[in-house]
């Protein structure tokens, strides 16, 4: 990565209190990260911070913004390049910062020089004056924080988009300072922690590369086994390999790929082809129905542990109630299987290796192993958390106070590297057959695939059914009125849903969520992957809308 790390560089409080300008791109902040949303609204209202929002839809936070750039889905990169073009033209870049802290500036210049306001406007659909105005706000107000979310990453150009965000912020000298930063708002509560703890095919806990011989040797010594030298499969690759019969066993904890993956018809096929599937979950999810063995898991209110939030802060989760019936915490289940497999001789770790065993007695035992093997969590001890210490990783030692702001003196990789990229149109574009662009996201009252929120009576009552937002113009063309049942189809599948005619979306664009299994947007979405991050293009798919008769 450009800066050498994929987490929020600054803290929430720091942005709320220090930023002079806040630039939100591809994040429906007030609905998806509501409490950050309120803090930003307050910063704007009471501190006079400037607020720029770039989003294809007229989302809630745009009502509070000084400027709303309503760019077409999949044109973020062009927009960011266009902003940098103006900043360079006006000489608003931070020359000292660029000289001392970065490299690759000349290449950046070469690329963004092409993105004149006129060209940018042509690609993005944002009027030239608004692009100029946004660049001016960013240029004249420092420090400025940039916030982004899935609207930036869920594209075939996701990684290039993220780099462009970093480029913009380095150009302005906004990285490593209070009130600045490049700040991805991570989606689910512990997606940050899942990544930190090695829930990725290319890294051990703490982002130590599996392809790095030293890192591998360290874990081989710790765990007392030989480890493969090559990367594992990503979710998408897993599903493909399962379909090809190469993956025999699939073990899924607390996830529901049968609603959250793109192109669900393909996912279903892969699951059907897998010989043996083990699922641990709270509910009989869409995915669990494909399982061979289902273990009943405990909810977070039923267990002890820690979560890491989007600003790298590690916090305690505490047990408040007992799990229902015989449900058990996920770690207990995994440990039981491991112990049985050891007894069956599935592997024979070197008994002298310090962390080879599976005889954990409490979550604290696991924490100690994490401290020992994960440098960024070395000082995140159970005792400190219990004492109420507020720790943002990296915390390299038990005495270290934690690191609320990253890159204050240097980047993790040394110099910050400008890596400029050209705009590439989305993998799938509308045509005569599928004339509309579908973009997907979430709403305030639901969460992810909805396993939890559909079973929260109040949330479900306020937002009981899937809705498809469609502009009045497109609705008229399709003969659709507000509240009509409609069929939405793409090259991959179709769903039946309900139309909400609204100017939250521009003509040519429709929006829906992936919260509802029976109308899951992911029957339609495109599995085309970003080549580096392997994140599917959830945010852009070509679709067609038709009215269906009530009888259907």
């Amino acid at each position: 990565m450009t800066l050498g790390s994929g987490a929020m560089t600054n803290t929430i409080a720091d942005i709320a209190e220090e930023s002079q300008v806040i630039f939100i791109i591809g994040s429906n902040t007030t609905e998806n990260h509501p409490v950050i949303g309120t803090k930003i609204r307050r910063a704007k209202r009471y501190r006079g911070a400037k607020l720029i929002v770039a989003d294809p839809r007229r989302i809630d936070i745009t009502r509070y913004a000084d400027l709303h750039l309503q760019h077409r889905p999949g044109t973020d990169l062009a927009l960011l390049n266009g902003l940098m073009h103006i900043i360079l033209r006006e000489g608003w870049e931070d020359e000292d910062y660029i000289r001392e802290r970065t490299e690759g500036f000349e290449e950046l210049k070469a690329v963004v020089s092409k993105y004149t306001p006129e060209l940018t406007s042509q690609i993005t659909g944002v009027p030239v004056e608004q692009i100029e105005e946004a660049a001016r706000m960013l240029g004249e107000n420092r420090p400025g924080a940039l916030l982004y979310a899935m609207g930036i990453t869920q594209h075939t150009t996701g990684v290039a988009n993220v780099m462009a965000c970093a480029n913009l912020q380095m150009l302005l000298g906004n990285v490593g300072v209070p009130g600045g930063g490049v700040n991805p708002l991570r989606g689910q509560n512990n997606v940050q922690g899942a990544c930190d703890m090695g829930g990725l095919p290319d890294v051990f806990p703490g982002y130590q590369k599996v392809t790095n011989a030293d890192a591998r040797a360290k874990f081989e010594r710790a765990w007392g086994v030989k480890l493969p030298e090559y990367m594992g499969r990503t979710v998408t690759e897993m599903l493909n390999a399962a379909e090809a019969g190469e993956v025999k066993c699939l073990y899924i904890i607390g996830e529901n790929p049968m609603t959250s993956e793109p192109d669900l018809n393909h996912t279903r096929h892969s699951l059907n082809k897998t010989e043996f599937i083990v699922v641990q979950d709270l509910f009989m999810s869409e995915t669990a129905q494909f399982a061979d063995v289902i273990f009943p898991a405990a909810a977070s209110a039923e267990k002890e542990g820690t979560f890491t939030n989007t600003e790298r802060r590690i916090q305690r989760v505490r047990k408040a109630v007992n799990p229902p019936g015989e449900a058990m915490p996920d770690d207990w289940i995994i440990i039981q299987i491991a112990r049985r497999m050891l007894a069956l001789g599935a592997t024979t770790p070197d008994p002298d290796a310090p962390w080879a065993g599976w005889d954990y007695e409490s979550v604290e035992d696991i924490e100690r192993e994490i401290n020992a093997l994960t440098p960024i969590y070395a000082g995140v001890t159970w005792e400190r958390l219990e004492a109420g210490e507020q720790l943002h990783w990296p915390v390299p030692s038990p005495e270290h106070p934690g690191t609320p702001i990253l890159h204050t003196t240097k980047f993790s990789r040394g110099l910050g590297r400008f890596i400029a990229n050209d705009h590439v149109p989305p993998a799938e574009r509308p045509d005569d057959e599928y004339p509309l662009v579908l973009t997907t996201g979430r709403v305030l009252y639901h969460w992810h695939a909805g396993e939890m929120t559909h079973r929260a009576a109040g949330l479900e009552a306020v937002y009981p059914q899937a809705l498809v937002e469609i502009n009045p113009k497109d609705a008229r063309k399709a003969g659709v009125e507000d509240g009509d049942r409609i069929k939405l189809s793409s090259r991959r599948g179709e769903i039946i849903s309900t139309a909400q005619v609204t100017d939250r979306v521009e003509p040519g664009i429709v929006f829906t969520t992936f919260h509802f299994a029976e109308a899951a947007a992911n029957f339609l979405t495109n599995p085309a992957l970003d080549p580096t991050a392997k994140i599917p293009e959830f945010k852009v798919a070509a679709v067609r809308v038709e009215k269906v008769d009530a009888a259907d």
Partner: protein
Amino acid sequence: MTINLIINNQPVSAPEGSTVLEAAKRAGIEIPTLCHHPDLTDIGACRMCVVSIDGARGLQTACTTPAREGMVVDTMSDEAVASRKFTLEMLLTDHPNDCMTCEANGQCELQDLVYDYGVSWPEHSGKRHHYEIDPDPNPFIFIDRNKCILCGRCIRACEEIQNRDVWNFAHRGFETKLVAGADQFLLDAGCESCGQCVTYCPVGALWDKMSIGKGRLSQVEKVRTTCSYCGVGCNFDLNVRNNEIVRVTAAADAPVNGLSLCVKGHYGYDYVHHPDRLTRPLVRAKWLDDATLQENLARGAWEAVSEAEKRNALLTWRRQHGGNGQSQFPNSQSQIPNPKSSISPETFIRTDWDTALDVVARKFTETKKQYGGDAFALMASAKCTNEENYIFNKFTRQMLATHSIDHCARL
């Protein structure tokens, strides 16, 4: 700059710009308040905080009076105390005598002040309001205007913390009434159901609707935890009674969010106790040996007959019940018809833990021996704890000898 003043014969210093109330608080002198809250701007509406100040005419409201150099303040002068008692008596003349059953009992600021000042219930109540109780159909916010003391804290919480500007006062004098929008229902007035107004209400006029009748402060245990929905990482207290989460309350010392919560964190907890929760391990019949299968069947421990049937049952149920959140998913263990005769290899059998764990451990071990680590794929979870994810990562790499671990959609 600090300023020095005398409060109750005690020298006090405070930063410039402090109010008399804040200066007193620094010196550990408590002045009673109702409409004041440290997170909100002060409006001097309730007159509970009145104090005597040398040289000033009449009583002054401490929450809005700036502390000045050399000021001499008496917070417990006879006039101030009498004035507070009078204020409380006036409030009681138009307040239901409902503490016995009121949700706020034990955490009501009005009740505490009435107790502190020894005010007794007025013998003749004055003109009384008779508002409908819980008139708003929204699922989260309970409203009882009869208990509203018109302090305006909810108005300011919604405006200043949440920036939604939903609440306001309509009419004047005795007719003054707290209304949402233009006297609309909350959801129509732009409310986003965060429950901030409930958190800031000092009495029982606004309450969490899901918690009505579920337990008052003295009956619950509070457990501090981190939200299980989004990555902001708000902390709050789960209020637990008899092994049930009955309420979520915000905590002023929560590091990320203070008293702020959103609708999911505040009101999205009931999934934990939903009857759909899985409670026993399930294994498809084909993975069980005959003896185990027969033994379990004898106990009637089947689930749905087959995956196809299960899905059909779910789909039919969804069609019939649409999006009505009040009804529940079919409880798979009882409501899906399941003639024992049609047990197929695909039928889910409810087993004990040992049986299910052995099936998995054996299958994984065999597969590893036959095909090696690449035959496995594991999906970790952004909903699980760090410790669980760590253990899962170790299981993948150490036990199965593969790095094929990822989590869904990398969101």
